[in-house]
């Protein structure tokens, strides 16, 4: 398994600067997620790495071997990069059986040895044994997803790319497949690059999250770092709920607010209760604060709307953005 390094990679579509000089390291065996709203450049970056689009400038390295370099005029063709990919709409070939869909990559690269065994193995790992002779349209959405996964990993690729693979599934199935996909990737020890706009997916699945906006990588870090120490107001806004003490400079996460002063060093804040929503395990309280921002806090009882109230937080919970 090899490490992927991206250096000053750039791409324009006409006048749109889809990706601006991006730097990124994908360590071997890690699960890295590109997270951001639509149009942030995450899919473009994925497609550039896959080879489905050609970068305008920059470099892509596998360990210290170039697979793309603008300066050196190297661009390894898509089909010889040895990657796997799970597409958003699965992109299973409708005229091939499940078996042939999975076997495609092996046949295309002439790895005929043990072909049957390897395909069976891949299908067993996604619990689809016995369905080899079905056609894609005879499978449920979740099963199609598994075939797409088996197809992407059967060739033991250097890197598996996931392009919002869960977005085509309904909510219940999505939660189920999220857990399953994570454990499959972990068990196989695959290097994975995953694209999503869903922060739950990003936070729960990844070793490393890369937050992107407007063609730029804003922050790279573990899910905990991204949540607790966002380095950019957009990251703080986009992931989780944020309460701003000084807009775009100092923030607090809702779970760190207290309803009483626990020690003398806690800071008090005053606000008016605008709305209370019952979430089952707690009440979510929306507060209009004196500094004209809106905060979120959690409580175990229903509070009366319209009441002015004090909330407290200790100094070290406040995150200062630089």
């Amino acid at each position: 398994m090899k490490e992927i390094t991206i250096h000053r990679l750039e791409k324009k579509f006409g006048d749109v600067h889809a990706l601006k000089a991006a730097d990124l390291k994908i360590p071997a065996g890690s699960f890295t997620t590109l997270l951001g709203p639509s149009g942030c450049g995450k899919t473009t970056l994925l497609r550039l790495i896959a080879g489905l689009e050609t970068p305008d400038a920059g470099e892509i390295l596998m360990d210290d071997e170039f697979i793309f370099s603008g300066n050196k005029r190297i661009s390894r063709p898509i089909h010889s990069r040895n990657f796997g990919m799970v597409f958003q709409d699965f992109a299973l070939w409708p005229h091939l059986t499940v078996f042939e869909n999975v076997a495609f990559g092996l046949r295309a690269s002439k790895q005929k040895k043990d072909l049957r065994i390897r395909v069976q193995q891949a299908l067993r790992s996604v619990k689809l044994e016995g369905l080899e002779l079905r056609f894609p349209h005879q499978l449920s959405g979740g099963q199609q997803q598994r075939v797409a996964f088996a197809r992407a990993v059967v060739t033991r690729p250097q890197l598996v790319l996931f392009d919002e693979p869960l977005s085509a599934l309904d909510a219940v199935l999505r939660d189920e497949m999220r857990l399953e996909l994570t454990s499959l990737v972990r068990n196989m020890g695959i290097t994975a690059l995953y694209v999503t706009h869903d922060q739950t997916e990003a936070m729960s699945m990844s070793d490393e999250v890369v937050v992107m906006q407007g063609g730029t990588i804003l922050q790279t870090g573990s899910p905990e770092e991204i949540y607790q120490k966002p380095n950019h107001p957009f990251v703080a806004h986009f992931i989780g709920k944020s309460n701003w003490i000084v807009p775009d400079k100092q923030m607090l996460r809702p779970e760190h607010l207290r309803w009483s002063q626990e020690d003398a060093s806690s800071l008090p804040f005053t606000g008016t209760i605008r709305h209370v929503s019952y979430m089952g395990d707690r009440y979510e309280v929306i507060l209009d604060m004196e500094n004209r921002t809106t905060w979120t806090a959690y409580h175990d009882q229903r509070l009366p709307v319209g009441e002015t109230i004090q909330v407290y937080a200790s100094e070290h919970q406040i995150h200062h953005l630089n």
Binding site: L52, H79, A91, W93, A108, A168
Partner: protein, 559 residues
């Protein structure tokens, strides 16, 4: 209105629609079969086959038709496949106007296209005037090969559209998935593109075959000139010129009908079993080759050449002929004149009368067709019950069956000795024929509009207090109106150009623009005929192009 009376209204309306369709469409077709197997007042199932097999000429005619169909499939493939690839895979595909222009050959009535080609290629024609040495080509052109060429140039846009759409859909993620998983170009082509394209191609090829053997215009003009006879031209001969032989005509018509129905059945089999739902996800972006360098030159060259052959040459010949003072003088500025148009359009002239006849017939026929077609389409609805499916099938039958076959059936029915309604040989018989021939267009367009309307829209109308009639008027009607307008325009256009029905059905001494063009071309006043062709085709082609440009389908494609 209580529930029972509402239900019975629906039932009566549905029953009546089915009855009318049976009389208008099904009965004439059954009568063809009946006449062909009931010669000499006694039942003889094998009679049509025997009639054909016993005559050496008729067997040859049958083989001619089939051979022509196969040849045209081959040549249209040769034209359409590279074009589809160019428009799907290079950035020429961004030129949306090309798609509209590429429809012109298909929209040009085949008899007029053939006339254009004949004027260009014949001895003393325009090609010879520009390039005298090219006269050696003339005998090669006036041959079976020339006929295949003319028909292919007319039909290729149809196959092109099918192939291009299939390529566009495959070109998204399915092809990308193949390349990511290690397939080089030729492997991708062999294992993914070709198999997925094949079902679309199969469908297209079958339809090309049916359209070729059903076509009348080219065989009636070019085919007659070179002495190449096919089913349609022979049916026409046995019904319109002495000695009239209904036995032979109906035998050939039964055969043609049978072949077309079988083809149509195979086509539905293919589309239900072997075609795949190819729907790109929202992220589908087709990568296109830049049309610069050699790719650009080859692509543009191919497109321009094809447009030149399919539009340039026939239209140039027709327009030039309509403008020349003296044909013998050749093409020069001093030899140009508008006098043919003036003569054609002068009050009281034969030409103006024919033109007015065509327009009024088309207006009356398309208005009736829209009302009937909308009614049928709404009766069919989403085609849930057996009765609705049958209604659907009958109302689309005239599109499946060759026009000349329907016309023969209508003659048999309305000219029958026992027919109490004296419609035959009147103005209204022509209207009826046009309505029957072209009703499928309205039915299809309205059905498509109706299919997109969620029933909750109507339910919402009722919940908010609208009566049935009010909901129909304020909600349903506005939503299906685009379909109705499209149906009207389509019917108007093709009624205006219809040749075979007009030739066979028009009462004596009445002419339409199509029969006028045909007669003038045959009798030598070619310039007048071509002036008429320019006016008639010009008006209706512009109408069709506007329709194509406005159609919601197209806007969605552009997104």
């Amino acid at each position: 209105m209580n529930i029972n009376s509402l239900r019975s209204f629906k039932w009566v309306s549905g029953g009546l629609a089915l009855f009318i369709l049976t009389v208008l469409v099904l009965l004439p077709l059954l009568l063809i079969f009946w006449t062909s197997i009931y010669p000499n007042e006694q039942l003889d199932i094998a009679a049509p086959l025997r009639t054909i097999m016993s005559s050496h000429d008729l067997v040859e005619v049958l083989l001619n038709s089939i051979g022509l169909g196969v040849s045209v499939i081959l040549l249209t493939t040769l034209f359409a496949l590279p074009l589809a690839w160019i428009m799907a895979k290079t950035d020429l595909g961004h030129h949306n106007w090309l798609d509209v222009v590429l429809l012109i050959p298909f929209m040009t009535p085949p008899y007029i296209g053939s006339m254009g080609w004949m004027l260009f290629m014949q001895t003393g024609g325009y090609m010879e005037q520009f390039l005298p040495a090219s006269s050696v080509l003339t005998p090669y052109f006036f041959s079976y090969g020339g006929m295949v060429l003319i028909m292919s140039l007319h039909l290729f846009p149809f196959l092109y559209l099918l192939l291009r759409n299939a390529l566009l859909q495959i070109g998204g993620n399915l092809e990308e998935a193949a390349s990511v998983h290690g397939a080089p170009f030729f492997y991708r082509f062999k294992r993914v593109i070709i198999p997925l394209l094949l079902s679309s191609y199969g469908l297209g090829a079958l339809l090309i075959f049916v359209k070729t053997i059903a076509e009348f215009g080219t065989p009636a003009t070019f085919g007659r000139r070179i002495g190449f006879y096919v089913l349609t031209s022979e049916i026409h001969k046995y019904i319109s010129s002495w000695p009239i032989d209904f036995g032979k005509a109906t035998s050939l018509a039964s055969l043609l009908l049978g072949v077309c129905l079988v083809m149509w059945y195979i086509q539905t089999l293919i589309s239900s079993r072997f075609s795949y739902r190819l729907i790109g996800g929202k992220g589908t972006r087709t990568k296109r080759y830049k049309s610069t360098g050699i790719v650009g030159v080859l692509s543009w060259g191919y497109v321009v050449l094809l447009l030149l052959a399919s539009i340039g040459i026939p239209y140039f010949s027709i327009i030039t002929t309509s403008l020349l003072k003296l044909r013998g003088e050749g093409v020069s500025w001093s030899n140009l004149t508008l006098k043919h148009y003036a003569e054609l359009l002068s009050p009281g002239s034969q030409g103006l009368e024919a033109l007015i006849n065509s327009f009024t017939l088309a207006i009356v026929a398309s208005s009736i067709a829209v009302i009937l077609g909308t009614w049928f389409a709404l009766t069919v609805g989403k085609g849930a019950t057996f009765k609705q499916k049958i209604t659907d099938l009958f109302s689309l039958l005239p599109n499946t069956v060759p026009g000349i076959v329907i016309v023969v059936g209508l003659i048999l029915l309305w000219n029958a000795r026992w027919m109490p309604i004296p419609l035959y040989n009147t103005y209204w018989m022509v209207v009826l024929t046009y309505v029957v021939l072209f009703i499928p267009y309205t039915v299809q367009y309205v059905k498509a509009s109706y299919g997109q309307i969620d029933s909750s829209l109507m339910q919402a109308g009722q919940v908010f207090g609208g009566s049935k009639l009010y909901v129909f008027r304020r909600i349903l009607l506005p939503l299906i109106l685009p379909g109705m307008v499209a149906g009207w325009m389509m019917t108007f256009t093709i009624s205006n150009r219809e040749l075979v029905a007009s030739l066979l059905i028009l009462p004596p001494s009445m002419q339409t623009s199509a029969t006028y063009i045909f007669a003038q071309f045959e009798q030598g006043a070619v310039a007048m005929g071509m002036a008429m062709a320019v006016i008639s085709v010009g008006v209706t082609t512009i109408l069709l192009l506007v329709l194509e440009y406005l159609s919601p389908d197209r806007k969605r494609r552009q997104r």
